[in-house]
């Protein structure tokens, strides 16, 4: 039986009828038509393509039941660029050619944003740890790391490309 719940997504509270067994990912994509959040591994929490920020923490939305996301602040990729401007992370991804197919990019942007919101100048290791849960099959991560280091105002470790 569907239940009516309120979700706070990107600062907007919306009422949505959900089956109790549906994940936040399913509700975002299928009920709210917010398809920027991707499904890659099939709801196993293994690829990170479905990453959203919930109460300040990056989470796999395929592992969160929509019912459990009530009363939380949820940020999806659709809410990252504000005021007609890209977020610095998004701009850095473009400037550093960190995108190939782009399927993993929303998830990586949100994992990184959760880090930068807490720590504006993370080290390279902190950046790597923050995006460790996000699979990318195209890039090999080098350009993405470069982009995020630039946002952090750092260069890569010495001698490392």
């Amino acid at each position: 039986m569907k239940q009516l719940i309120s979700l706070n997504v990107n600062g907007e509270v919306c009422d949505v009828a959900v089956e109790p067994n549906k994940t936040l990912l399913e509700v975002l994509r299928n009920e709210l038509q917010m398809t920027g959040t991707k499904e890659g591994c099939g709801g196993l929490g293994q690829c990170g393509a479905c990453t959203v920020i919930m109460d300040g923490k990056a989470v796999n939305s395929c592992l969160v039941l929509a019912m459990d996301a009530r009363d939380k602040e949820i940020l999806t990729i659709e809410g990252v660029a504000t005021g007609g401007k890209l977020h610095p992370i998004q701009q850095a991804f473009l400037d550093h050619w960190a995108i190939q197919c782009g399927f993993c990019v929303p998830g990586i942007v949100l994992s990184a944003k959760a880090l930068f919101d807490e720590n504006p100048h993370p080290t390279e290791d902190e950046i790597k740890t923050a995006i460790a849960g996000n699979l990318c099959r195209c890039t090999g991560y080098a350009k993405q790391k470069e982009a995020l280091l630039a946002v952090a105002g750092r260069q890569g470790k010495e001698g490392e490309k």
Partner: protein
């Protein structure tokens, strides 16, 4: 780079970069059409089995199910990936006689949502007569091995297609013959033999395969699909569904990684057939599990090699037998076997070549196009062999490669003109970059 160019030599912004970085770009699963249904494929529970009966009645009665199709709802045409020569048509849209790998396509269902589709799949009853299966291509080539295909249709690109018996599960044999290998071996100081194997590999693009099909009252088909090759998909759909080319409009969506794996038709014909039957758009998306079970892989490879070399390092003769495990269907096997032979005859330079490439059916998941297309398997064997040759001759492996590397302008033994080739420069540059000169202390000190 000259300023005369506005694009060449300059970095230009990624055209769809903003769409991708903001989540606006539409991948296949992001497409939703009014009244759209969801479809899935019932897959075989056996590697090799005859289908005795399929009972879909319970599934059809489940509320929310709009269509169930089996082979009898398809035109029962066999298809294969188009080749210039030796096109083989052996693959059905839905199997009508037997299943040939665990995951082969038995039936398809369209319903109002994914949960209902999955429930309906469980309600389809299939009676199987389980047959002995073969998974090792060398076993499959032996007389008396289980037959994966009894016959297929083969075309030569000129005279159309004719029905052929399949012998010893050999789908096709590709040969490269040049010079005189026996003479080459006689002139060699050292002859080495080896057996090399490379396993299969799944593309694992982050976005799985999928398609959305819509059919209008006039029978015009609009197909959205995640593909690298919309025109190939359209051409293949004509072959498998018998629909005129002009009736099919293929729209490639954003492609969430492919690496060769999205050259293939997967759910497109089933989505079209279900859309035709229901009159409603149908979306079909592979689960990650299906991706591993049913999408193509890099061909597993066994290679028997014999190489003859003169003391000064010059390659004199190469003989090789490649066995490519194409699995249940030929797919890109023919092209991969050809390219494997071309690589063998070209890298490194040699005048006397005898290559045989066998594409062999087994009851494994089937091989397809994957970045390199036969090249990684063969190059692995060749480069390993070159190191063995260098060790046997007690020669610097860099030097051995520089002696035998092909150069632009020459014709390789298989007749390919080497149009451009930076291999020598690349080897020299790599050796310099890693400081090879100081590192190399001879084979004894390894």
């Amino acid at each position: 780079m000259s300023d005369a160019f506005s694009v060449v030599g300059k970095r230009v912004p990624q055209k769809d970069g903003v769409d991708l970085v903001t989540g606006v770009g539409k991948f296949i699963d992001d497409i939703v059409l009014p009244k759209m249904l969801y479809g899935k494929i019932l897959r075989s529970a056996h590697a090799h089995a005859r289908i005795l009966n399929i009972d879909t009645s319970k599934a059809e009665k489940l509320p929310g199910v709009k269509a169930v199709i089996t082979a009898k709802d398809t035109p029962r045409l066999r298809y294969g990936v188009a080749q210039i020569y030796d096109e083989i048509r052996d693959e059905p849209v839905l199997t009508d006689d037997k299943v040939r790998f665990y995951g082969d396509r038995v039936a398809a269902v369209a319903a109002v949502d994914v949960d209902t589709v999955e429930e309906a799949l469980d309600l389809i009853e299939v009676d199987y007569e389980v047959l002995p299966a073969v998974f090792d291509p060398e076993e499959a080539m032996k007389p008396g091995a289980p037959k994966v295909h009894e016959r297929f249709y083969k075309g030569d690109g000129v005279h159309g297609f004719k029905e052929c018996e399949v012998e010893n599960n050999i789908c096709i044999t590709k040969r490269v013959l040049a010079g005189d290998v026996e003479k080459g071996f006689k002139e060699s100081d050292v002859i080495l033999e080896g057996r090399y194997t490379a396993h299969g590999q799944e593309h694992s693009h982050l976005e799985t395969h999928g398609a959305v099909a819509a059919v209008d009252l006039m029978g015009n088909i609009k197909l959205w699909t995640t593909t690298q090759t919309p025109f190939t998909i359209r051409r293949d759909l004509v072959k498998m569904l018998g629909i005129p080319l002009g009736k099919i409009d293929v729209i490639g969506t954003k492609c969430g990684g492919a690496f060769g794996g999205k050259n293939e038709v997967t759910v497109e014909p089933h989505a079209i057939l279900l859309a035709q039957k229901t009159g409603r758009p149908v979306k079909m998306i592979y689960s990650r599990e299906e991706e591993f079970i049913a999408s193509t892989i890099r061909h597993p490879f066994i290679f028997y090699s014999k190489i003859g070399v003169r003391k000064d390092g010059k390659l004199m003769a190469k003989q090789g037998k490649a066995i490519l495990n194409t699995g249940a269907y030929s797919n890109h096997g023919v092209g991969v076997a050809y390219l494997t032979g071309a690589i063998f005859a070209t890298l490194y330079r040699v005048e006397n070549v005898n290559y045989e490439g066998f594409v062999v059916y087994t009851n494994c998941t089937y091989g397809g196009a994957f970045r390199g297309y036969g090249n990684p398997q063969m190059t692995f064997a060749i480069e390993t062999e070159m190191d063995r040759v260098a060790e046997t001759l007690n020669m610097d492996p860099v030097e051995l490669r520089l002696i035998n590397a092909p150069v632009a302008g020459e014709k390789s033994a298989c007749g390919i003109l080497v149009g451009s080739c930076g291999l020598k420069d690349c080897i020299a540059q790599a050796a310099k970059t890693v400081g090879w000169e100081n590192k190399w202390k001879g084979w004894e000190t390894r």
